[in-house]
C-alpha cells in the first residue's frame, strides 16, 4: 500500500525542528530512519500532516564520551554501532545487540533513537539500554531533561516523550574493566522481532548486577540488585516466580521463553 498525503520539512537544527513540532493544530511526527514509521505510513496506521526529518541534525548525530558516559546521538544508526564507527562504552555489548536487529539494509537506516521513541515492546534497544542503566536525553522548547529508561519506557509503544519533544541522545554509563554482560533474544527467524529477550549487566564497580527482560508485551521488566539470579546453577523456578511477581503476563509457554532467554543471557555473561 502507499502512504496518504503529508507534508515534509528537514530543519537544519534542533531549535528549528522543535519549533515545527510545537506548531499547534497540525499533527506532526518526527522522521528518523523511517524503518518503523515507513511501514506504518504505507499501511496507513498513522496519518500525520507533517513529517519533521531529524536524521541529519548535528546534535542527533554526535557520539562522544564525557564524564564516564557515552553520549550517543539519537540518529546514530544500528549499523554504525554494529561496525564500531562510534565509541564503545559497553565492552562490545551494544555492537553485538545492534548486529541482531533486523537485517543489514534496515540497520543501515534505522536509528537507536527511533527504536526507543517507537518503543515496540519486542525491540532490542529498550531492553539492552535498560540493563545498561542508560538515560534518554530529551530536548524540548524549555530545554533538555534526562530521563532514566525505567521512566522513559512507559508501556507498549508508549514513552515519556511529549508530542513537541525530540529524543536528542542516549547517555550510556561506561562499563568498568571488570564488567560482564550477557544478552539473548529468542526469535524464530534471524533478524525478527523477539518473542523473549534478556539483558544482564554485572558491573561490580558500579551498580552491581542489573537484569532487564523484554518482549513482555509492555515495557521491559527491570531487576536491580539481581545478584541472586546470577548464582549457579540457574534456578528456573525462582526466576519464573520473580518475573510473574514483576508482572510478566501470558501463558506457560511465554514464561518458558522468557526464562530461557534469561538463563541463556546469564550463561553468556563475559
Amino acid at each position: 500500500m502507499k502512504a496518504a498525503r503529508f507534508d515534509y520539512e528537514r530543519p537544519a537544527n534542533l531549535d528549528a525542528a522543535l519549533a515545527l513540532l510545537g506548531n499547534e493544530g497540525a499533527f506532526a511526527k518526527v522522521l528518523a530512519g523511517g524503518q518503523s514509521l515507513g511501514p506504518m505510513l504505507n499501511l496507513r496506521l498513522v496519518r500525520p500532516d507533517l513529517l519533521v526529518d531529524v536524521r541529519r541534525i548535528p546534535e542527533l548525530t554526535q557520539a562522544a564520551t564525557h564524564d564516564g558516559a557515552l553520549i550517543l546521538g539519537a540518529a546514530t544508526t544500528h549499523a554504525a554501532i554494529e561496525d564500531g564507527r562510534v565509541p564503545d562504552a559497553t565492552r562490545g555489548m551494544m555492537a553485538a545487540v545492534a548486529s541482531g536487529i533486523a537485517y543489514r539494509p534496515v540497520r543501515n537506516r534505522g536509528t537507536i533513537g527511533g527504536s526507543l521513541a517507537h518503543a515496540d515492546p519486542a525491540a532490542d534497544w529498550p531492553t539492552c539500554l535498560a540493563a545498561l542503566g542508560a538515560e534518554a536525553l530529551i530536548a524540548g522548547a524549555r530545554g533538555q531533561r534526562a530521563v532514566p529508561m525505567r521512566e522513559f519506557l512507559a508501556s507498549a509503544f508508549e514513552t515519556s516523550l511529549r508530542a513537541d519533544e525530540i529524543l536528542e541522545a542516549v547517555r550510556v554509563p561506561v562499563l568498568s574493566a571488570r564488567a560482564r554482560w550477557g544478552f539473548y533474544k529468542v526469535c524464530r527467524k534471524t533478524g525478527e522481532f523477539a518473542q523473549g529477550i534478556a539483558a544482564v549487566v554485572d558491573d561490580p564497580e558500579r551498580a552491581g548486577a542489573r537484569v532487564a527482560v523484554g518482549a513482555t508485551g509492555s515495557a521491559p521488566i527491570i531487576i536491580e540488585d539481581a545478584g541472586a539470579l546470577l548464582r549457579r546453577p540457574f534456578d528456573a523456578g525462582a526466576a519464573a516466580r520473580l518475573l510473574r511477581e514483576r508482572g510478566l503476563g501470558g501463558d506457560e509457554i511465554d514464561m518458558q521463553i522468557h526464562v530461557a532467554a534469561l538463563k541463556r543471557a546469564i550463561l553468556r555473561l563475559h
Binding site: A4, G34, R109, G191
Partner: protein
C-alpha cells in the same frame, strides 16, 4: 501538500525533480525514472525485494521517501554494469542456479555484493544470516548461497 524539489545522483547521473513528500524512493525510481529493475513485494521493509544502495550502503527503497533522499547518491541494479564484484556475481548466479523467476534477484545481487565486499571472510552460516532479510520464493536459497560462496572462494584465491 506542495511538491518538494530534490536533487540526487542516480547511477552516476544527476537528477532533479519536484516530488510529493509521500512518494517512496522505489516508486520514484520505477514510475518516474522507469528504472524497473528495482522490484516491490511487501512495501513494508520485510521481503527485501526493493533493496538498492543509498550513499554506498544497502537500504530498502519502499520505506525510504524520495524527498528524504535529497542530496543522496543512489545506485540501483541498473548501475552495476561495470562493477567487477557484480560481474562475478552475475556469472556465479547463472552457473549455480541462483535464480528461477528472477523477482528477488536484483536485490539478492545487491545484498550479495555487500557480503562479498564487507565480509570477505564470511562462511556459509554467515552468508545465510546476512541473506535472511531477502526472501526468495523459488530457489530454496541453496543456489544463491553457493553462488556467493563461489565468488568469495575465488576472491580469497
Amino acid at each position: 501538500m506542495s511538491a518538494k524539489p530534490i536533487a540526487m545522483s542516480i547511477n552516476g547521473r544527476k537528477v532533479e525533480a519536484a516530488v510529493e513528500p509521500r512518494l517512496s524512493l522505489a516508486d520514484y525510481l520505477r514510475e518516474h525514472l522507469l528504472l524497473t529493475g528495482t522490484h516491490l513485494g511487501c512495501e513494508h521493509g520485510v521481503c527485501g525485494a526493493c533493496t538498492i544502495m543509498i550513499d554506498g550502503a544497502p537500504a530498502r527503497s519502499c520505506i525510504a521517501l524520495a524527498v528524504a533522499c535529497d542530496g543522496a547518491e543512489i545506485r540501483t541494479i541498473e548501475g552495476f554494469d561495470d562493477d567487477p564484484a557484480m560481474a562475478e556475481l552475475r556469472l556465479a548466479f547463472g552457473e549455480c542456479h541462483g535464480l528461477q523467476c528472477g523477482y528477488c534477484t536484483p536485490a539478492m545481487l545487491i545484498v550479495a555484493r555487500d557480503i562479498v565486499l564487507r565480509l570477505p571472510e564470511a562462511d556459509e552460516a554467515r552468508i545465510r544470516v546476512e541473506l535472511s532479510g531477502n526472501l526468495c520464493r523459488c530457489t530454496g536459497y541453496v543456489g544463491i548461497v553457493k553462488a556467493i560462496r563461489q565468488v568469495l572462494d575465488k576472491r580469497r584465491g
